[in-house]
Amino acid sequence: MAAAAESQPASLRLKEVRHLLSQSLHSREVRLLVVIFNSCNQGISQVLSIVDTLHQPWLDGLELLQDAMDNKRVLSTGIAAVDSFLHGGLRVGQLTELAGPSSSGKTQVGNFFSSKRIRHFLSENGSPPSSQDDAGIVHRVMSRIWRHSVFEISLLFDMLHQLEFRLGSQECMEGCKVQLLIVDSVSSLITPILGGGSSQGYSLMASLGVLLKKLAHEHDIAILVTNHMVGGERGNPKPALGESWKSIPHVRLLLSCDYETNTCNISTLKHPSLAAGRSASFVID
């Protein structure tokens, strides 16, 4: 396959030579050569089509833009201040990291989907007063939230591969389309395997990043991961997971909470289209 692929630049020359030959006399040898050249060309295009299946398709800017505008919408976080800060909310197809010291509100994002909050959220939005309807709606909403406990990174990989397989299979109906995936917290799975002199931990972290971004883009999911803080230079805390992790998420946000005033502050560390260093404050109830 390598040899055939190396003759790719020669395919144009082959076409020219074949054209020249077909213009000459119709002798038997010439016809034989033309047949060989034809089969070479076919062989080359066959090899090319096989190699083409080994990578994602080539797109041009217009097709990419069309896909982004059709499928990659923005999901609201439920907190108005955060939504306006992020120009809409979490973007589908992007991996967002939320870093912050412990008990700063990042896990509240996960607990935001408890049944008590859902009921509260529905009653705020003027749902019908009868309690039976209410319970039915809550049940339907809760049945769309799946929660898995994962204590090891290999189990997380297993689950993500299963999800990828299920989403990619033909029998996926409208009901099983995933919109948001939250991993709380990715640092507690990765930190135990980093370091120790070998590169296995870093390679697992990189593979996890690639798998999450692939899921996000191919299946139109918004992914949110949380990260904790460690001590950095000059005593300032910095997000954990080191230098290699910094280039993996699309969006990196820093959350800090002040309990006396009950306000939280969110700022951007990295964003593909918004300026870094901006911040906003809001109150979580």
Binding site: S199, E243, A275
Partner: protein, 305 residues
């Protein structure tokens, strides 16, 4: 007489210079990339920690490439080339590219009709070829099919001979570094691998360089590559402009010898300014190096001072 013809000169230096300049004209980018003339065959490596606006620099250069020089009587100052963007980081935001392109078109052609602007926008976006790669193997197979893609596009658009020089951009060549390193250490421990050169980080990077050289022979291109530092930099805490941050080089020697130009980008802590300033430095062999400062604004990179 054949021997005499062999000794005689083929062309003078003046003729050669004019031939090279017309066949592969230099790439003239807007600031902050305007310092050194870049031409086909150059490999520019943009290194920096994350985040340091490296992808933004690529988008800035890509817009310069895909815009036409002149279109319907309006001067856009572009280079009228194709851009091939290989996304290894999988983080490219096409909406940002589209937004910056629209701003550039409205800025240059202020009296342009809406339909004309849309038409130019589509024309430029069609010149931007994009592929995502989720592993080194996908990257290698994309490089193998790159020639075929370019030939198809040239045939479709009937591009003339002279403007066949394009730009190849690769976002984050170090994206699969850790995964390739782990593959090599795993392969060594397998029994029965003695005497056979297995997959290793070095062999993968060698294959990448080989494929790129093959494509560059047939399609002379300017290659711009970003590289995020995966190992922590040695920062002594000072914001000295002239100090070279010593980021450890992790790419194998075969890649280092393939690169012809090096650019270092980093964010500068500036408490006086709200926006983060970035510093761009061309690493040259001479003691004098070019340093540019720029900001990332909504309308793109802006070089002040």
């Amino acid at each position: 007489m054949a021997a005499r013809a062999w000794i005689e000169t083929d062309e003078t230096a003046k003729e050669m210079l004019s031939r090279v300049l017309t066949k592969s004209p230099p790439f003239q980018f807007r600031p902050p990339l305007h310092r050194l003339p870049l031409r086909a065959g150059n490999v520019v490596e943009i290194t920096g920690p994350s985040p340091s606006a490296k992808t933004h620099i690529l988008i800035h250069a890509a817009i310069d490439c895909i815009l036409p020089g002149q279109w319907k009587g309006v001067d856009y100052g572009g280079l009228d080339r194709l851009v091939v963007y290989i996304d290894l980081d999988c983080k490219f935001d096409v909406l940002r590219l589209s937004h910056l392109l629209k701003l550039r078109i409205t800025e240059a052609g202020s009296g342009l009709l809406f339909d004309d602007g849309e038409e130019l926008h589509s024309l430029c976006m069609k010149r931007f070829l994009y592929v995502r790669c989720y592993s080194s193997l996908e990257f290698l197979s994309a490089l193998k099919t790159l020639h075929h893609q370019l030939v198809e596009r040239v045939v479709e658009e009937e591009v003339e001979e002279g403007s066949g020089v394009h730009c190849l951009m690769i976002d984050n060549i170090g994206a699969f570094h850790w995964m390739d390193r782990a593959v090599s250490s795993a392969a060594k421990s397998l029994p029965g691998c003695n005497g056979r050169r297995g997959i290793s980080l070095d062999s993968i990077v060698e294959a990448v360089v080989r494929e790129m050289k093959k494509v560059l022979v047939v399609h002379p291109m300017l290659v711009m590559v970003t590289k995020a530092t995966v190992l922590g930099g040695d920062r002594s805490g000072s914001n000295d402009v002239t100090q070279n941050s010593s980021y450890r080089e992790f790419m194998p020697l075969v890649w280092q010898s393939f690169v012809t130009h090096r650019l270092l980008v980093r964010a500068v802590d500036d408490d006086s300014c709200e926006q983060t300033r970035y510093l761009l430095e061309w690493l040259l062999s001479s003691p004098r190096s070019f340093v540019e400062r720029f900001l990332v604004k909504d309308a793109g990179l802006s070089c002040d001072l």
